[in-house]
């Protein structure tokens, strides 16, 4: 009897231990969907820097873009058709809204001080769908609708930076200071119009680009050296596990294309 109980107890303990180990392996999963940032970044003058450019393409059957159901404020929101922008594939399978960036750059140029990141709300759609915000720069959110929105920028596990502010039709413009450190991309949502979604990434250096309609990206003024080139895409995930290694020569140009597949469904 006693031995039986002991066996049971051991088994139970073993199971418990197993669960712990399992739970721990979960922890990093979230990081796999985020960008990788250097530990520190120093701005220096860059002369005769190189250039990295390329095209991001989608590999796989391109699903038809899902038309979003407009459930309220139809007079304002229903004026234009809206689609789920998680996967925007253009002619020739080119992939829009992919962030391509240098993961491990520790020094280089400064941000373009003139740039003012803007998030527009018109006919109850966020534009752009994916954008980069230099850390410490305010995001200007526009309300071009005769409707009340709420701008809800999600927090992440690392930083308590969730922002959720109402923006009624009276407030055409509002500036939001978001994360104090690099993080993201994080989701932006309007809870009032549940279909409105976008992404922002708070970035610590300027070597980030978002692909355009043609799937193109360019990183300029890259100090000569060896780098890891990473990407992030809402539906296709990241290459955090296997970043691409590139070598940039002074004044040189590196071509690096990517072909992305849909993230495996969990």
């Amino acid at each position: 009897m006693k031995t039986k109980m002991l066996t049971c107890l051991t088994l139970l303990l073993a199971c418990g231990f197993g669960l712990f180990v399992f739970a721990d392996s979960h922890e990093k999963e979230e990081d796999m969907n985020k960008l990788v940032f250097p530990k520190a970044y120093k701005t220096t003058a860059v002369s005769n820097g190189g250039k990295i450019s390329g095209v991001v393409k989608f590999d796989g059957e391109v699903p038809e873009m899902k038309k979003l159901e407009i459930t309220k404020d139809k007079a304002v929101c229903g004026v234009t058709d809206k689609f789920d922008e998680a996967l925007v594939v253009g002619e020739g399978n080119v992939l829009k809204n992919t962030i391509v960036y240098l993961m491990d750059i520790s020094q280089g140029k400064d941000f373009d001080k003139e740039a003012k990141p803007e998030l527009d709300q018109k006919n109850c759609r966020f534009n752009p769908h994916v954008q980069l915000i230099p850390v410490g720069t305010a995001l200007t959110v526009l309300n071009n609708d005769k409707a009340t929105h709420n701008v809800h920028i999600f927090g992440t596990s690392k930083n308590n930076t969730s922002v959720n502010k109402q923006q009624t039709k009276n407030r055409k413009k509002m500036r939001l200071t978001g994360a104090k450190g690099a993080e993201g991309p994080v989701e932006v949502k309007c809870d009032i119009h549940g279909w409105m979604k976008a992404w922002v990434a708070y970035v610590p250096h300027p070597y980030f680009a978002v692909t355009n309609e043609k799937g193109e990206f360019t990183l300029e003024d890259v100090p000569p050296g060896d780098y890891k080139l990473g990407y992030w895409h809402e539906a296709c995930g990241t290459n955090n596990k296997e970043p691409v290694k590139v070598t940039v020569a002074a004044g040189g140009e590196v071509k690096q294309d990517f072909t992305l597949k849909l993230k495996e469904a969990k």
């Binding site: 709420n150 922002v163 109402q166 009276n170 500036r175 809870d191």
Partner: protein, 565 residues
């Protein structure tokens, strides 16, 4: 001498505890004790690592707090700030009504609760890193609760766009309600403001005010900003008035533009303040605008407070039993004012968690009932809040599958001889059968009579059509009117007689919450009775008896006197 010492000690201890009550405390240093208590009492839901992923977490909605993110819903601090130690202590002590978080006041000693506060804070580094204490929401300038303030608040409720989620009259039935999610992607229903007893952070006016100013972090509830910032209450009412006009006169247009400009400037200053680059003059006008905003928020808090009773109503037992009121007239129809003359009886509902599939996260709080009867018929009015009107089964990619809303009213087939006699099993009967009226939102004018001997063992009765019914859904609330003869020809039906206590119970389904079949909310047995009318014969018999006895006494006296003479 010794007893004197004891008295001093008690005095000091007493003073200390009063001090504790008055002055908010900070958590002690992290101790082994805190970890121990946490793992014993909290980890089942919140997980040993504080990620909100304990073994019981799966079935809970709202989900247990993930302490590693530093996002706390209920705080006395401003938006984007961490909670104070006292905030955490209060939540542990009082629990969160309407969620699975119980209050620990009785099961954990105060010092144990403080140790837990200290331990919980270790899960999120931000607590260590922040040098300054979190900025607390000031309760200065509180406006007393009054009819006038409520009226102003009502107007602001629309201006602040609260109705988008909470609905026109506040039952949590706004047009955005069905799609709301928290940051973890879980469905997050807006509060039903008519049920203040379910507010997670309490329903004192101060609590409500803090939720406006600080927002509910991680949920869809945003931090509120004055939609007419920089305008006084009068000006913002006027602005709204003009804004809603189809056509404005030239003078009105000018007035509108002036207000609009004033507001635009105030918003610009608001942004400058947030960025820390406002000058002295701007700071001044910011302070004035904020004062007006806080004033508006207090009015709004007073209005929200007015939408709900102070406490959860007493359930329909004892003197609150559902008593059908006798009337000589025709029974009232569904929307008749006559119903307003009756108090309702409150039947609390809970999730059905005995038989699979279960409902762990109910959304329907209760059913309220009223009843009238006359010499031949009885009429009921059942009322319950449901945030959405679901009349069909629907597949939706974002919100999942939804079903149709429904209710079932249950009676025993055989009325027990006494209130203490055994009733059928409360979950749709068992060995003893129950008799049911089942109504579905898809067919508002139809009701089905069932006999059941178990939750999965119900049959439609052969003879239907003894009941008249009408159902209505408005502003997040169902009203169901049912009328029937006191006696029917169908032997299987319930036969009613004044003065007889009849057991009554309910099942209800909120289709948007995935309720279908056994997944539903239920009540236990309550009672209802056709309140007997005191008979008019009471004016005849008692005087008659008195007269007779008097006559008898007189006769007796006469008889005795005659015998004596």
């Amino acid at each position: 001498m010794r007893s004197k010492n004891v008295v001093y000690l008690i005095l000091i201890l007493g003073l200390l505890s009063v001090y504790n009550l008055i002055f908010a405390q900070d958590a002690p240093e992290v101790s082994e004790k805190g970890k121990e208590v946490y793992e014993e009492s909290c980890a089942h839901c919140h997980g040993t690592e504080g990620r909100g992923d304990g073994s019981a977490a799966e079935n809970l909605l709202p989900q247990p707090r993930d302490f590693t993110r530093g996002l706390y819903k209920i705080r006395s601090t401003e938006s984007g700030q961490l909670p104070t130690d006292q905030d955490l202590f209060d939540i542990i002590t009082e629990g969160m009504p309407g969620s699975s978080m119980p209050g620990w006041e009785t099961s954990l000693k105060a010092d144990e609760r403080w140790e837990v506060v200290a331990y919980i804070k270790t899960f999120y580094d931000g607590f260590k890193e922040s040098e300054t204490p979190p900025r607390q929401i000031s309760l200065e300038g509180k406006i007393p609760y009054s009819e006038e303030s409520i009226e102003i608040g009502k107007g602001l409720y629309t201006q602040f766009a609260c109705f988008e989620c909470h609905g026109q009259v506040g039952r949590g039935d706004g047009t955005s309600a069905p799609t709301l999610q928290d940051e973890w992607g879980f469905q997050s229903w807006p509060a039903n403001l008519a049920q203040g007893w379910n507010f997670r952070g309490g329903n004192d006016i101060d609590d409500i005010y803090k939720r406006f100013i600080g927002g509910i972090a991680g949920s869809a509830m945003p931090m509120f900003e004055d939609p007419a910032f920089g305008l006084t209450i009068e000006q913002s009412i006027r602005y709204n008035e003009l804004d809603n006009k189809v056509e404005m006169t030239e003078a009105e247009e000018e007035e509108y533009n002036q207000l609009d400009e004033k507001m635009g400037n105030a918003f610009e200053i608001l942004d400058l303040m947030a960025e820390g680059s406002a000058d002295e003059e701007q700071k001044q006008s910011y302070a004035t605008a904020m004062k007006a905003f806080y004033e508006k928020s207090w009015h709004l808090a007073n209005y929200v407070k007015s939408l709900s009773s102070e406490k959860r109503p007493e359930p329909a037992i004892g003197k609150n039993v559902l008593r059908s009121q006798y009337t000589e007239d025709d029974l009232p129809q569904i929307m008749d004012a006559a119903w307003d003359t009756l108090d309702s009886s409150y039947f609390p509902l809970v999730g059905q968690i005995i038989i699979e599939p279960r409902q762990f996260n109910p959304t329907i709080d209760s059913v309220n009932a009223k009843s009238f009867y006359n010499d031949t018929e009885v009429a009921f009015l059942f009322t319950w809040d449901d945030r959405t009107n679901n009349t069909e089964v629907k597949e939706n990619e974002d919100t999942g599958k939804t079903f149709e809303d429904a209710i079932a009213i249950q009676f025993p087939v055989k009325i027990p001889k006494s209130p203490t006699a055994e009733k059928p099993y409360f979950l749709w009967g068992g060995r003893k059968a129950v008799y049911l009226w089942e109504w579905k939102a898809s067919a508002a004018d139809k009701i089905t009579e069932l006999t059941a001997k178990g939750i999965n063992n119900a049959e439609e009765q052969e003879i239907q059509g003894d009941l008249q019914v009408e159902g209505k859904y408005t502003d997040g609330q169902y009203n169901l009117w049912i009328k029937r003869a006191l006696k029917t020809d169908d032997k299987k039906d319930l036969q009613l007689e004044p003065g007889v206590f009849v057991p009554i119970a309910f099942s209800a389904w909120d289709g948007a919450n995935g309720d279908v079949g056994t997944k539903r909310v239920i009540s236990s047995w309550y009672s209802f009775v056709l309140e007997p009318v005191p008979s008019s014969r009471r004016f005849i018999y008692p005087p008659l008896v008195a007269l007779l006895s008097f006559g008898l006494l007189v006769g007796l006296r006469e008889f005795v006197r005659q015998r004596n003479t």
